[in-house]
Subunit: 551 residues, 2 copies
Amino acid sequence: MGSVTFETDPSRYRHWKLDVQGAVATLALDVAEDKGLAPGYKLKLNSYDLGVDIELNDAVQRLRFEHPEIRCVVIKSGKDNVFCAGANIRMLGKSTHGAKVNFCKFTNETRLAIEDASESSKQIYVCAINGNAAGGGYELALAADHIMLVDDRRSAVALPETPLLAVLPGTGGLTRVTDKRKVRRDRADVFCSIEEGIRGTRAVEWRLVDEVVPNSKWKEAVAARAREVAAKSDRPKGAKGIALTPLARKIEKDRVSYSHVDIEIDRARGLATVTVRGPAGAVPASVEAAHALGAKFWPLTVARELEDAILHLRSNEAAIGVVLFRTDGNAQAVLEHDDFLAKANGDWLMREIRHYLKRVLKRVDVTAKSFIALIEPGSCFAGTLAELAFAADRSLMLIGAREGDNRKPAAITLGAANFGFYPMGNGLTRLQTRFLGEPETLTELKGKTGVAVDGEEAAELGLVTAAYEDFDWDDELRVMLEERTSFSPDAMTGMEANLRFAGPETMETKIFGRLTAWQNWIFQRPNAIGEQGALKLYGSGVSPTFNKDRV
Amino acid sequence: MGSVTFETDPSRYRHWKLDVQGAVATLALDVAEDKGLAPGYKLKLNSYDLGVDIELNDAVQRLRFEHPEIRCVVIKSGKDNVFCAGANIRMLGKSTHGAKVNFCKFTNETRLAIEDASESSKQIYVCAINGNAAGGGYELALAADHIMLVDDRRSAVALPETPLLAVLPGTGGLTRVTDKRKVRRDRADVFCSIEEGIRGTRAVEWRLVDEVVPNSKWKEAVAARAREVAAKSDRPKGAKGIALTPLARKIEKDRVSYSHVDIEIDRARGLATVTVRGPAGAVPASVEAAHALGAKFWPLTVARELEDAILHLRSNEAAIGVVLFRTDGNAQAVLEHDDFLAKANGDWLMREIRHYLKRVLKRVDVTAKSFIALIEPGSCFAGTLAELAFAADRSLMLIGAREGDNRKPAAITLGAANFGFYPMGNGLTRLQTRFLGEPETLTELKGKTGVAVDGEEAAELGLVTAAYEDFDWDDELRVMLEERTSFSPDAMTGMEANLRFAGPETMETKIFGRLTAWQNWIFQRPNAIGEQGALKLYGSGVSPTFNKDRV
């Protein structure tokens, strides 16, 4: 697979049809089987690969920004007789371990984005299953707020991964069945063992779907349900969307640049530096002016560019293990933009931008790279951008100024954004997670809101891992990076996946922690991927041979 | 490694010295380096293998039953200059994947048993680290309620697995650092990257230990702390322990039998049947009489035998993927024993037995085998033994009687034991977890306490997965078992690890879910176990070569 780009727009969709009618949007999955992202497989039966999910992610995103009038989104199949057969098996069978893991991660994030749209923006998803929904197909449905299944004596929901492929329903399926739908564990066990799945009233009784509807009444029932769901939404009346215009992205060999974000890659050292620039100007004069700026409004620009940068590094720069976060600009201007967002929180667009930044920061939390924030003179780790330092595995701060550098000494400035804008997957803010063991520090930090905290104080307060004077900085940084890049990348991934999420677990952290880890484990086992394994032999007519040892 | 036996007693310890003085016991680790469980490695520097941990588990257990007078247990090293170097690396390097996973599981359970002793029985553990505590050595300390570290300018605590071995501190280390000790995540990241660890006041400041004490005051400080901790315990005064006498176990080729538990193995089908027999007689006349019975008191006998059976199946019967639970006996007698335990809950021994049964049932929950309960005429799935059905992945029940069988129809009888005696790792009872989606059923079930619920009603209430008439039973069971044993064992392990724990996560479920799954993943990665991997090359003087891709 060549370089993956995550940017698209409806005019370029190959697999989804987005239709908007009044307050209801319909997303119809109609996969073009010859248009997979890579050669070597056909996307039969509405099965999907990363390319299909990139379009879905784009549609979910655009609906929130470009269509504030939409209150209900109906996901259905554009094909007769099949809803979706899930992730394409031949694609999985041919993928490297890393590609499988990244694919699952992205699709998980898209499912969570659907749930976030229903919950945070009341753009509520209904899944209308008009045909078999198997594996990832049913997992897509599980992300919806309401699941309808046609009762045609044929269409079923199924999680056949285990009996058929010797892998897990790893896109949240197992977790959502027990924790979201609260299916009884033994029924879940039975359900996950039945290749053909469960249909009709039994699917309702087991809470696998919310309702079944006879074929003859299907269309009107879906429409009526969509209207009913739309009526419950608090989306604004008469609002006008903004366009998510194409990203200003330029890719060179060792550099990717956007308007406010740059990636510089040091391949020899296995390092990348992501620099985020603060706002160039003042906040808009009014909320209307911010709307008029649209995708050029700084917080939205940064969210989009940073998200694309993270996704690019994940999928296209596997060998880069360590990412340095730098910021550049005026801290006050960042805080003013945060305040603007906070004050205008009743406005649908400002609300969307905050939720979007939340989701982008969560993408950082689950990225399998070490993040290290470097807080230096000229940086603007304030409010929203300070979250990058708190999302990082470590942060280093320079004490005082640099010789021959007349910029102000490095500072961290906390703002309202750090105390509630951006909960992590565990439901806590990054500062709450960080100071789980010392809530009194959190109280102290609230008192520092708006104050530029210098290196020495930041280290003392625990806001950064360490602070160094100029004459120590280069050596300390060099040694740390040499060490970090020398460690086993797998051990780093496992360590970070555990250390980043102290405190409560939620369905979301269960999906990325417990379920994903088991899936990744199975994705390496010979019973799945060996020459006699189920993923390799699927569709060949030959049955897999399993090593029977239980581990 | 040959057949592992988990039974031992202090007279046979090779690696631990148990010393009891008044209210304080001391467990000194003094590993005999030539007495590893398998050939091919030396247990240098107080490093451990499964054999060392089997003794520790035995000591923790005996202290609770045989030494009710003990209020504080001090864990220390019996060697000079080293506390414990953790799991032996050569042993890990030579172990199969399955052996590594089972080893970690058992040591995790032992650490949790230590925490359960501190919390549930106020037999409170203090760890006195008199020398370097690295990796599993520090993870052992993390299980204690209070950690003391000698301040001799040499002794440190460390989790060097990641930099040194390219694996995780997988015996709860990562989780306990962030969630129990609440170490700040970036400090945890630094700590887990420093081979030599952290010592002195910095270890206290970072919350890695509770106190450091100069060498000159060490002995008296440990003794004083032990006395202080002992004074806080609510252990009974003047109580007399009971002896955990040798198990009545007989191992044959396809059969292991105890006094009240049998295992029958069907190797051709990959199946084992564990049968638990109810009490032969009435409850003792008094609590004193129960004490006099000691290890022959039915609930304690069953706990010990069932635990040994589960551990035996895990370690010595890897190829057995499915375990059938059967019971045999008088349901009323089981319930009477439960009532006896409930009424005598103020008695230290009765309390211990309940906590022990809780831990044994938790061992079932984390065992990588499919459990299926068969509820048939003559069985006694009541109260405590009904938990076996609720711990199982599925349960099948026979409706009515069998032809030519004059025993009473199968029944499930709920009792107080099912509503709070035995919380799972997630903090909920098995019935609460089972009916997470329908709390009203839980209320209904409380009303059924003491009522023999037959197959049809049990299926309707959701107490069993399915109920069949006699003429369907054999076919249904055969088909289900054929199917179950045909699935990939790995996929089953992953599926069960996810489906068994709906609802809240705790430190305990995080350890077995998130942390263990990542560790298992890493235990398969070439960067750890390949010919150029860190585990393989450790001690050879050759540096490992890592594939740098981040996954």
